[in-house]
Each structure stands twice: as structure tokens, then as C-alpha cells.
Symmetry: C2
Subunit: 136 residues, 2 copies
DNA sequence: TATTGACTCTATAGTAACTACAGAGTTTAA
DNA sequence: TTAAACTCTGTAGTTACTATAGAGTCAATA
């Protein structure tokens, strides 16, 4: 059994984050010392690293909570897990598409002020305003 | 002079968002009615649309505040504006790269549970756990 | 044993950009 | 006058952390 500081070291998560995960019902110490210190066993370490791995894949805490539930459910869980990952992939791909579009817009905007330095009418600010007029 | 509800309609921003922007010092009504209702003029409309446009480019409120300040500064502002947009482009590109990498990882993970439906050992969960072991 | 520094606890608050709701006041139309 | 729509300020919530405060526990050292 280890205390929270050791768990933090082993896992690379901060003490505060671990407490946060407990609050969010992702990982709870099964035991406390006489002094009320949280005590974690090896399964807890693995669980936290699982959570950390999922976080590195940008899965939300809610999604991770679900995965953990499925992980401890009957054998029929595989499709559910697959679906979650699929949905997550779709989200990520959508976000990539959005950002790519945004990047294009920003680059177009940047061209407005390429080499000019005609400070009286900054091309970028002008464009931002002109877009305004078009919106109207 | 128009009230906040009309401004919201014209701009496509919610009443609450407009109030939020006032609190964040992006846009403040210059006048209030006797009944203490905010009153906006045409310049305010344009300012809000400018803000909205910047938001659509994912610029933070802090960044937009800066742009607005530069917009009302002496002629030497063009380079500053350009720099801000450049930095923002870099951020966006970095984010795209991160998400693209993440997408790859997720797709690799998804292959673990491609057609199997061998629910006893879900490939995805297994991978998430195996990655854990590697981390250790 | 006493002391001290490190560790741990709970609680609270903050970050960013909204969004929702509550209760009270104002305005407008019937 | 009445009632509905609008507006106000204030408070709280969302997500995933992060920081701080004040108090308690533990372990090492003198």
C-alpha cells in the first residue's frame, strides 16, 4: 500500500489531480491510514495509468468513466468500447477539419499585411472590419 | 440607440454573451436609459461584429482585447497585429499537428477491435492496459 | 521527548468562454 | 390597469485541472 505522494510519483499525475479524479469518481483509495491518509494498492496504480493513457488520447473524464465501467462489466462490452473510440475519432477528425479551415482563413488574413507596413490602414484590421460589413 | 436584445439579434450574439463581453472589458454601452437599460450605437454594433469575427477565428478574448486596443492606437500598430495573427497561426498549426497525431493513435487503437467481437478480451481495453504496462 | 520539515487532509477559489437561472425592476401593448 | 416581454445584477455551473490556506500526521533528528 502506498500513499498519494508515491502514487503521484509513479504515475506522473499530480497529487491534486489524483484527488480530483477521486472526486470525479474515477479512482478512489480503498483504505485510509489511521491518520486518514489515502492508501493505494497495485490495482489502483494500474487503474490510474489506464486513466492517464486515456487522457493522453484526449478522452474526457466522462468517457473514461464509461470505459472503466465497461472494463469491469460482463463480456458483452467490446462493441460499446469500439463505439466510443469511433465517436471519439469522429470528434477529433471534425476538430481537425475545423482547425484546418480556420488556418486557411488566418493565412488569408495574414496576407493582408504581408510586407506593407502601411500602418495607416492595417490590412488585417481592415479585413476584420470588412468582413464585418459583409456580415451585415 | 438600441437595447441589448436588438443588438443580440443584429449580431447573432446572445444577450448574456454581450453582458459577458462588457464584464471582460471588450464592449461597454456608453449610455443607459432612465430605466438603466444599456443603449448601443452603430459603432458598438460594428465593434461587436469585429469581436464576433475574431472569435470565429478562435482568437481568445485577451487577444481580441489587444487587437481592439491596437485598432485604436497610433499608426504603428500594423506589425503588432501581424505578430498576433502569426502567433495564432502557429498555435492553430500546433494544435492540428497534435490532433493529427492523436488521430493516428486512436485509429491504431481501433484496429485492436476491428472485427473480432471477442468480447472476452476486448482489444481496445487490452491495448490501453498494455500501454500501461509499457509505461511502467 | 521535543522539534522541525515533509507530507497529507479538506475546503475554497481560480482559469477560459460562455450559459443558465433567480428574483427584481422596466417597458410596452392591449 | 394588467400582463407579458424585456432588462438588470448576481450567482452558479460546465470541463480538467491548478493553486492556496489552514490544520493535522508522520518521520527523522537532536
Amino acid at each position: 500500500m502506498i500513499k498519494i505522494g508515491e502514487l503521484a510519483k509513479i504515475s506522473g499525475c499530480s497529487v491534486q489531480t489524483i484527488r480530483h479524479y477521486e472526486k470525479e469518481q474515477l479512482l478512489a483509495a480503498k483504505l485510509r491510514s489511521d491518520g486518514n491518509f489515502r492508501l493505494y494498492d497495485h490495482a489502483d496504480i494500474e487503474r490510474l495509468l489506464f486513466i492517464k493513457h486515456c487522457r493522453s488520447l484526449d478522452l474526457s473524464l466522462a468517457e473514461i468513466r464509461q470505459l472503466l465501467t465497461l472494463h469491469h462489466s460482463p463480456m458483452s462490452q467490446c462493441d460499446d468500447v469500439n463505439q466510443m473510440i469511433e465517436q471519439h475519432i469522429e470528434q477529433v477528425e471534425r476538430r481537425i477539419a475545423d482547425l484546418t479551415q480556420l488556418n486557411k482563413q488566418l493565412k488569408a488574413l495574414r496576407l493582408s499585411c504581408n510586407s506593407k507596413r502601411t500602418v495607416e490602414h492595417c490590412g488585417i484590421l481592415k479585413q476584420l472590419n470588412e468582413a464585418v460589413s459583409q456580415t451585415n
